[in-house]
């Protein structure tokens, strides 16, 4: 279980070690180099902020430097223009004020993604810049001077303050990344649908990412104005936004060491270019080339390289992840063909008169299927029959269906996806696991409420996956498929919808999977609907089966009888192929 217990401690210790080396080198250094290091650490903090929103949550936000501007104006106003609160005590206020602005920018992200969001956030950066340049926002005019109190003006004191701030912010990001918030950020970056089906509120997750990143950026902006002495609109220009984005990509700012490298390289390179009387543009040119190189190689930049190096060394000692087959000595639950299905049931999952239309196409036509509690029902049908539409309707991705979907007598109609996840979980045909997580963290994310290590261990045991620290994107497809099923079960749902679990598996693997599925009702107390094309698996696992064809339910009953039904065979194989017995 060592893979499950490992928390953020190793990362925190490494951070502490690197930061102690930094202070040991910089503190005795001349004042100029202390200044360079101070600016570098502030830029590293902006890197952290980009790391949260882009590196973790995958949102292409190009305006993080503008959020730092909000922090700088606040400090400019509180400590310069009005002098109500002296620096550095105004800096937390700057960070707090940046949060609502960050949330405001986050709102368009609810509907806009990828490049669309990039355009909008770049537009925001230009807007903020023009507002700042106009100098009418309180605290934004460069005529106000922000001075530091005596205790921070001593040699190296301000550097120590910024150093401690970065240490605190980076430590907070490390802890957050391992917390539920951090896990949900990674989850929405991978797939919003999969995250929502695990009970994650996509809305809240995006807002927390924007809020946290805005807080960090605001803090950095506040420190910057206190370092320079007065607000300077040029520091927060859209070009800076873009340059920082490029740097964040190059360094892999999603991790703290990437953010620190960002600040270090940016500050040191510009200081050296200044010393050597070389144009400052050389720095941006190098960073631009570096970022294009990193993007084309797709290896996650500087921090990605560092982590791969560490992992390579570690993996030598680690076992290769091999799935354990289901324990052969455990009694296989004998499956007998079920009785004819009841239509009205009080418990389990029930679709009643479910109709889904996409424009003129009727994808599901008045379908009524019931899956009694602690039972397994198969759902088969040729491609395009409406099987996945049924799963989508149950999990809440189809807003306009008619009819009812009930779980344990509770109607799911109108319920948001992440609320349905408390009652009903699903898997996807394609792999939607979160590649950056290890199996334990992935299951921790999937459980809506806090789970114990023992509970996670039980699920891992069930799917036969060892408690490894290996990332999911390093594991094979079969393991990931089984973990997707495990992620359903860790949420303790009343109903699990398993969508084509055997796709791409060999016959042996498929049988092993079938035996595991058979255990689910007893072991986890859930009703299971298995959608599958592999008839061997269906015969092995499902006492009852429902058949869809062109959106209509053409058969529903005991498996052997249904699969031998000529009408069902015709639907699958085509009429001309059916040979009368």
């Amino acid at each position: 279980m060592s893979g499950l217990r490992r928390g953020s401690i190793p990362s925190l210790l490494t951070l502490m070690g690197v930061m102690l080396v930094l202070v040991a080198v910089v503190y005795p250094a001349p004042k100029y180099w202390q200044y360079v290091a101070t600016v570098g650490l502030i830029q590293a903090a902006i890197g952290l902020s980009i790391g949260v929103v882009y590196g973790s949550a995958g949102m292409l936000s190009l305006c993080q430097v503008s959020l730092a501007a909000v922090g700088s104006w606040t400090v400019g106003y509180l400590s310069g223009q009005s002098g109500i609160i002296p620096a550095p005590w105004s800096i937390p206020f700057g960070a707090l004020l940046a949060v609502p602005i960050g949330l405001l920018v986050g709102l368009p992200a609810m509907r806009l993604r990828g490049v669309n969001l990039a355009i909008v956030t770049l537009g925001f950066a230009v807007a903020i810049y023009s507002v700042g340049e106009a100098g009418e926002v309180p605290g934004s005019s460069p005529t106000f001077f922000v001075s530091l109190p005596a205790w921070l003006s001593g040699k190296g004191m301000w550097f120590l303050f910024v150093w401690a701030s970065f240490l605190g912010l980076a430590a907070a990001v490390i802890v957050l990344r391992r917390s539920r918030w951090g896990l949900t950020w990674l989850a929405i970056a991978r797939s919003e649908r999969a995250a929502a089906s695990m009970g994650v509120s996509v809305f809240r997750t995006k807002l927390t990412a924007f809020g946290v990143s805005a807080f960090i950026a605001g803090w950095a902006g506040g420190m910057l104005v206190a370092t320079i002495g007065s607000p300077d609109p040029g520091t927060f220009s859209p070009l800076e936004c873009l340059s920082f984005f490029v740097l964040a990509v190059m360094m892999g700012a999603g991790y703290w060491e990437g953010a620190l490298a960002l600040g270090f390289f940016n500050a040191v390179s510009s200081a050296l270019l200044r010393q050597w009387n070389l144009p400052p543009e050389i720095g941006s040119l190098l960073f631009a080339v570096g970022s294009v190189q990193v993007l084309s190689a797709g290896h996650g930049g500087f921090s990605g390289d560092v982590r791969r190096l560490i992992n390579r060394r570690r993996r030598r000692d680690e076992h290769v992840v091999t799935l354990r087959s289901r324990d052969a000595s455990a009694p296989a639950i004998a499956r007998t063909d079920g009785p004819p299905p009841a239509i009205d049931i009080g418990s389990g999952l029930q679709f009643r008169d479910l109709t889904v239309k996409y424009g003129a196409v009727t994808a599901l036509d008045s379908v009524t299927i019931s899956v009694p509690e602690r039972s397994i029902v198969g759902l088969v049908g040729p491609n395009g029959a409406g099987k996945s539409t049924l799963v989508d309707a149950a999990s809440g991705f189809i807003p306009s269906y008619t009819g009812n979907i009930m779980v344990d007598g509770r109607s799911l109609d109108g319920m948001p996806v992440h609320h349905r996840a408390r009652l009903l979980r699903r898997t996807f045909q394609s792999d939607r696991t979160v590649g950056e997580l290890n199996p334990g963290d992935y299951l921790r994310l999937s459980a809506v409420k806090a789970v114990t290590i023992a509970e996670i261990g039980e699920i891992l045991d069930f799917v036969g996956c060892p408690a490894t620290r290996t990332r999911l994107d390093q594991l094979d497809v079969r393991t990931r498929r089984l973990l997707m099923i495990g992620s359903c079960l860790v949420g303790q749902p009343k109903v699990a919808l398993i969508d084509e679990p055997a796709a791409g598996l060999s016959a042996d693997e498929s049988e092993d999977l079938g035996l595991r599925l058979l255990d689910i009702p007893e072991r986890f107390g859930a009703a299971v609907l298995v959608i599958e094309h592999d008839m061997e698996l269906v015969r092995l696992v499902c006492p009852t089966v429902a058949v869809l064809d062109f959106g209509k339910l053409i058969a529903f009953g005991p498996t052997a009888a249904v699969l031998d039904d000529p009408q069902v065979q015709a639907a699958y194989l085509g009429d001309e192929l059916v040979v009368p017995a």
Binding site: V115, V126, V131, L295
Partner: protein, 284 residues
């Protein structure tokens, strides 16, 4: 107000031409080129360099377009060589790198000194409804729409258009059909940069000598492209003109200092309405 609307056409025409470029490249190559105005501005700035040898303005414009095409070839080659299989986001993020690099080079070329760039049309105007409009403006707006019509007809009617459409659907599959995807990518980038250079030539005489504002023209241009949902080049061109006019109207009002915020506000409002049903990131 009539005056402001006509005034807005100058900027609007540039936005429209750039927006058409952005949409076509997005559709053909699956990349949102944030560098489009910056690359065009580099081409346009090279004209200043030719100009400094006392070259004929028209000849320097011609050579500048050649430079623009060459810049496009370089950018296209990088994209074709390293980003053929990459996602739209990754490719577009790479163009942010192009932008930063262009600004670095452009800053060195301009270097804060003032250049005077003669208008190829010698500042001549035509009078419409009692208002003098620079010929350059009319050419610019016409260019944007002629481009839009030309491209959409070309894509539908020509063999090259069919190849480009095949490539835009799925580059790898098109490659299997014998489409020379690398060559076409370079071609589209090159053409895009020529058009952007042309678009930038028209703003150069009136703009500042600092390079970054030229690169920022991509903001209203991409905003306009979004108004065409990154699909419809006519809507994108129209969006560009409308954003130009809106900016001009605001500039004349007492909120004039906040003109640069206009594209952001328009695009947020329109997109939040149009995309209100896009609750999920991916289809199924």
């Amino acid at each position: 107000m009539y005056e402001q609307i006509l005034g807005g056409l100058v900027a609007g025409g540039v936005y429209a031409a750039l927006a058409v470029c952005v949409v076509v490249m997005y559709q053909m190559l699956g990349v949102l080129s944030f560098a489009q105005s910056a690359l065009g501005a580099l081409g346009a700035c090279s004209m200043l360099w030719f100009q400094s040898f006392g070259m004929n303005p028209w000849l320097s414009v011609l050579l500048g377009l050649v430079v623009g095409a060459a810049i496009g070839v370089v950018a296209g080659w990088i994209m074709a060589r390293y980003f053929l299989e990459a996602s739209v986001e990754v490719r577009s993020a790479a163009t942010v790198g192009f932008l930063v690099a262009s600004v670095a080079i452009g800053n060195r070329i301009l270097n804060g000194s003032t250049y005077s760039f003669p208008d190829p049309f010698g500042g001549r105007t035509v009078t419409i409804g009692g208002q003098g409009i620079p010929i350059a403006t009319l050419v610019e707006v016409t260019l944007a729409f002629v481009l839009a019509v030309g491209i959409s007809v070309g894509l539908k009617k020509t063999f090259l258009g069919a190849q480009l459409r095949a490539m835009s659907e799925r580059a790898t599959t098109a490659q299997l059909l014998g489409v020379r995807v690398g060559l076409l990518t370079v071609l589209v980038w090159s053409a895009g940069c020529v058009v952007s250079t042309m678009a930038l030539v028209f703003v150069l005489p009136t703009s500042t000598t600092s390079f970054p504002p030229l690169a920022y023209l991509i903001v209203p241009a991409t905003a306009a492209a979004l108004l065409g949902l990154l699909q419809n080049i006519y809507m994108a061109a129209l969006g560009g003109v409308l954003i130009g006019i809106a900016e001009s109207l605001v500039l004349a009002s007492r909120f004039g200092r906040y003109t640069d915020a206009i594209p952001f506000l328009i695009v947020v409002a329109v997109m939040m309405y149009w995309r209100r049903k896009d609750v999920w990131s991916e289809a199924r």
